[in-house]
Amino acid sequence: MPSLNTIAFYLHRITGVILAIYLCMHLGFLTTVKTGEYSSLIKVTLSRQFLPFDLMLFLIGIYHGVNGIRLIIHEFGFLYRHRKILLYLTFIITAVLWVVVAWEVVM
């Protein structure tokens, strides 16, 4: 069983890759504004069936962002002694933010 440090590291990389792929898709999506297919596409993504994907995306984005902030704090040499607490906090904050956001969206 890998430690939480290692899990955090791999999650950060995986989420980063997913976000990069998403970003490409998103940009591709936006180019369709010119061709006029945009409005039909946006309808699909705004549908109820698409919601789970959105929620996953939020989770991935939030984790990558929060963990990124943690890493930046350490990289500037701060709060190193509290690195364990910060690590737990990262997961807690991610979870809380995600629940709040998901609640907003779903409701």
Partner: protein
């Protein structure tokens, strides 16, 4: 007690199990010697001082890189799995190739660079600034734990560089920062090195501190 040891004979690698009678206070290294002397003389491993200062006997014990000589058998879960360090090429059984490791160490100029001569004074406070970082025994545990060490400098050489940078007798800080500016950015702050270091040196912290210094240096602050 059952030991599962990862063997490699140059061509084939496999697991082998041994039953070792355990005495109170027995260390993993003693268990390895017991196996070699009584059960299977072909088992190869490195060991020397058996008191945690020479750094020869680092292996992965139940997945975690540790010094075999200072790991008490009684505190381990059975079966005790013993494997060679990760991120090193295995030569034989638990023996890994350290040549590249010591080459990496050389890159950062890990020696006192000093042009001035004459009597040297250093107060205990100045000594304290770097002393803990002189304790690195170069066992390779941090390199084994680091997920990115295979493709970059890894934690150990950075600690060495920091040790000399902080030494009040040293005059080579700029040279080292210049070298480090090519190497220090690979760290992802997994901090696993700090978790496994048998001397509690916190390499992860040192790397972050040096990053800031390299940044300041490159921008000539």
């Amino acid at each position: 007690m059952r030991f599962k040891i990862r063997r490699f004979d140059g061509e084939r690698s496999y697991w082998q199990e041994f039953d070792v009678p355990v005495k109170r206070g027995m260390t993993v290294l003693e268990a390895l010697y017991y196996i070699k002397e009584n059960l299977d003389p072909t088992l190869s491993f490195r060991a020397s001082c058996r008191m945690g200062v020479c750094g020869s006997c680092a292996v992965r014990i139940n997945g975690k890189p540790r010094l075999a000589c200072e790991t008490q058998v009684s505190k381990l879960k059975e079966p005790v799995k013993i494997e060679p360090l990760k991120n090193f090429n295995v030569i034989r059984d638990l023996v890994t190739d350290f040549e590249g490791f010591f080459k990496k160490h050389e890159i950062v100029k890990p020696y006192l660079i000093r042009k001035s001569e004459g009597e040297i004074r250093q107060t205990p406070e100045q000594l304290k600034r770097y002393y803990i970082y002189t304790l690195c025994i170069k066992c390779g545990a941090c390199m084994s734990a680091c997920p990115v060490a295979k493709n970059c400098l890894g934690p150990m050489p950075v600690v060495s560089a920091y040790r000399f940078n902080e030494d009040s007798r040293d005059e080579g800080k700029e040279e080292r920062l210049k070298i480090l500016s090519d190497h220090i950015w690979h760290c992802h702050f997994v901090a696993e090195c700090s978790e496994v270091c048998p001397k509690d040196l916190n390499p992860a912290e040192v790397i972050q501190k040096l990053r800031l210094e390299v940044l300041k240096f490159s921008m000539r602050w």
